[in-house]
């Protein structure tokens, strides 16, 4: 069993089909047809990943996303029929790590899920410094002056990717490949939103970032240690 996936989608045919595809890939799907039941099911099954339809009857997908994010750093992949910037950004800002736009190819979805679950392999003990933060890669923790800062796995990965090569400027495309596992060019808004979210957690003043620095016209780099 590669992992347990909670599928929250009101379209039963799609949910069932998702279940079939994921089971075929070796995952254990748990189906949920409406937003209100999502949180209880999440608590009950403790999935390794959540597939969430943004437009749900009852509780809105955005609210479900926030509720889950409030109690767990579990990877959340949104399913959305909307590609407008506002919708995507709202979804990402409410805590989703990645999103897949309908209609998607099953392989694409599986690649996204795999990328989000890939990180379970045991990393070598490693201690990194970025800005005035200390990152314990194996221990999965970030501290400023000894105070731990709570990050989701994705935010952690993003920070580690930048901290490992503080001399390098990362374009959004490179970050998409390294952190999200996109092999082809994808939506760079993912990077923008997550950098903002990361900054809001790790920067002393998110308006004047010192840990994750923007390089205008190119991308981002780690701030000086």
């Amino acid at each position: 069993m590669k992992g347990r996936v909670l599928i929250v989608d009101d379209d039963t045919a799609l949910a069932e089909m998702l279940g079939i595809v994921l089971r075929g890939e070796g995952y254990e799907p748990v189906l949920c047809a409406n937003g209100e039941r999502a949180l209880p099911l999440f608590r009950e099954h403790k999935p390794d990943l959540v597939l969430l339809d943004l437009m749900l009857p009852g509780m809105d997908g955005i609210d479900v996303c926030r509720a889950i994010r409030a109690e767990s750093g579990v990877p959340i992949v949104m399913l959305t029929a909307k590609t407008d910037t506002v919708d995507v950004v709202v979804g990402l800002e409410s805590g989703a790590d990645d999103y897949v736009v309908k209609p998607f190819k099953p392989k694409e979805l599986v690649a996204r899920i795999r990328a989000r679950l890939r990180r379970s392999e045991e990393p070598a003990p490693e201690l990194l410094e970025i800005g005035d933060l200390t990152i314990d890669v194996a221990g999965h923790s970030v501290r400023r002056d000894g105070t731990p800062i709570s990050l989701t796995p994705l935010e952690f990965d993003l920070l580690v990717a930048l901290a490992r090569k503080p001399w390098q400027v990362f374009t959004r495309e490179v970050l998409l490949e390294q952190v999200w596992g996109y092999r082809h060019a994808a939506d760079t808004r993912l990077v923008n939103v997550h950098v903002q979210r990361l900054r809001s957690k790790v920067e002393r003043d998110p308006e004047r970032p010192e840990v994750v620095v923007t390089v205008r016209g190119v991308g981002y780099k780690a701030g000086p240690a």
């Binding site: 379209d11 799609l14 089909m17 595809v21 029929a81 590609t83 309908k102 190819k105 099953p106 392989k107």
Partner: protein
């Protein structure tokens, strides 16, 4: 000097422009000019009549006074003691002249008297001529003297006299002969100065001028006021019409009173209301329609995803099916791809139609995007046997663009060039100047007819309906590319010649919101058939298969 000239020319041009633009100025000016002319004509005739009247009266009075004077003189001569002649006249003549000049007139010398010897007086003892103001004999015009001498009765004329003060004064000269006993005929002239009449006339003229000036100013002012009454509502109508056309449909004119202007305002407002209503209806209709397209596209997505996954599962398992089912699964798969891209393009277009497209622009090196696109297209180009040639400047071409959209435009152009390039090389040229960055994609295929050059951007337009589509475009690609270019305030233009391929040129301003003035790349490629003969060092052109001479 040239600066002065320029300033003069500029102010002249400004005045001409103002004259053309302002109805009020024109009306006020023409009214003023016409009333000025009318007043001048009227005033002139008035002054002439006043002068004639004044002079007539003066002449009549002068003639009467002169006759009286003549009679007095004749009586004085007749009653003089003849035995003492001519010595008696030496005292009589000056006395007479003094008396006559003072008689009946004002004492300030308002009238002068001249007594002159007639031509028939030849006695050297006879008294000389005499005048009341020194011996200015020349004051009497010779023509009048001749008349008096020949006619022998009272004659008069106008003349001018130089006074001691140095002023020339107009006068009425009245003359008549006086018979001096034993000596002969003398001529007695009276000079009545006209300075009083002249003063009166000057006063009248001054008053008239003042009145004329006042009247002209008044008429101009009235014209200004009256036209203002008319022009103000017209200007308001123009201003409101401009606002209406700028999209502020709720703007209306103020209606006051019941006159023609109020009627104009009322009908204007009615027109605006009906326009607004119709535009609203159209907007609603188009909003509903756009909404519908968008909703349909969205609603289609979920079932399409399900079908897609089901088809994929079938496709994966097709090895175990019999050949017909196997082929069906494959066809299902490829057609779903096509369906998907069509749906995606439709959605993109509907987003543009709804005005919901949003530009995520930041300074980006366009060369980088071009390289990225070319790398991704190598496989397709290889499959079609087309070589992709990239011509780029040494320096980066940074512009404020949304790289996702620019990449989409370029991918579209390059795919089209490969698809229509008939296996010949496709050139991608990047160039920039201070204001713009341009990318041109040139193919050397069958080419576009000049009439088709604008049509290519139409939705679902196909150059040749009979032509098979192999790369499976949706027919919306160039329309979307054009919208993407417009979103950047950029240009996307096509050039084509039958048999000479085509070139699509994308021009983007370096900074957002700056209007493009030109493109660093000419629309027609430098190696087009038409331009090639002009190349230096190429005396003649081989006529052969189109594109064969390219290299």
């Amino acid at each position: 000097m040239p600066r002065v000239q320029r300033a003069v020319r500029r102010s002249w041009r400004r005045s001409v422009a103002l004259w053309r633009r302002s109805l009020q100025l024109r009306v006020v000016t023409t009214t003023t000019v016409f009333s000025l002319v009318a007043i001048l004509v009227l005033g002139n005739s008035l002054i002439t009549r006043v002068r004639d009247g004044l002079l007539d009266a003066k002449v009549t009075a002068s003639l009467v006074e002169a006759s009286t004077g003549s009679r007095t003189a004749q009586e004085a001569f007749d009653s003089a003691d003849r035995s003492e002649a001519p010595a008696v006249y030496d005292t009589l003549v000056p006395d007479l002249v003094r008396t006559l000049s003072r008689a009946g007139g004002e004492p300030d010398g308002s009238k002068d008297v001249v007594l002159l010897r007639g031509p028939d007086v030849d006695d050297p003892q006879a008294p000389l001529g005499r005048s009341s103001f020194g011996a200015d004999v020349d004051a009497v015009p010779n023509a009048l003297r001749a008349q008096v001498q020949t006619e022998g009765v009272q004659q008069w004329t106008y003349s001018k006299v130089l006074r001691n003060s140095g002023k020339t004064v107009p006068v009425v000269v009245v003359g008549s002969p006086v018979l001096v006993p034993q000596i002969g005929t003398y001529e007695l002239y009276f000079l009545f100065p006209l300075n009083k009449e002249e003063d009166t006339l000057g006063l009248v003229r001054g008053a008239l001028l003042l009145a004329a000036f006042g009247l002209v100013v008044l008429v101009g002012g009235i014209a200004w006021l009256v036209t203002r009454q008319v022009v103000t509502p017209v200007r308001m109508a123009a201003r409101i019409a401009e606002r209406l056309s700028a999209g502020r449909l709720e703007e209306r004119m103020r209606v006051r009173g019941e006159d023609d202007l109020a009627r104009l305002a009322a009908s204007f407002n009615r027109m605006a209301s009906s326009l607004q209503q119709q535009i609203r209806q159209l907007e609603d209709l188009s909003r509903v329609q756009r909404r519908f397209v968008s909703d349909v596209s969205h609603e289609l997505r979920t079932p399409l995803t399900t079908v897609r996954m089901a088809a994929d599962v079938l496709h994966e398992a097709r090895a175990g099916f019999d050949p017909a089912v196997q082929r069906s699964a494959e066809i299902l798969q490829t057609q779903l791809d096509r369906f998907e891209s069509l749906l995606a393009d439709l959605l993109e277009i509907s987003r543009y139609d709804a005005g919901a497209a949003h530009l995520d622009a930041e300074p980006t090196d366009v060369v980088g995007i071009v390289r990225h696109v070319i790398d991704a297209m190598e496989t397709l180009a290889d499959a079609r046997g087309s070589e992709l040639v990239l011509v780029i400047p040494r320096t980066p071409c940074v512009a404020e663009v949304d790289s996702r959209r620019i990449e989409r435009i370029l991918r579209n152009l390059v795919v089209n060039a490969i698809e229509h390039g008939d296996g010949r090389p496709v050139t991608v040229l990047v160039a920039s100047d201070d204001d713009a960055v341009a990318v041109a994609v040139r193919d050397r295929g069958a080419g576009l007819a000049p009439t088709d050059v604008t049509m290519v951007f139409n939705r679902f337009w196909r150059a040749d309906p009979a032509r098979a589509r192999t790369t499976g475009g949706t027919g919306l690609g160039l329309s979307i590319a054009l919208e993407d270019a417009h979103l950047h305030d950029g240009w996307l233009q096509a050039w084509g010649a039958v048999g000479d391929g085509s070139q699509f040129r994308l021009t983007l301003p370096r900074r957002r919101g700056v209007e493009l003035q030109g493109s660093p790349i000419p629309l027609e490629p430098r190696d087009s058939a038409r331009r090639r003969p002009l190349k230096v060092g190429e005396p003649y052109r081989t006529v052969g298969a189109p594109g064969a001479a390219d290299g």
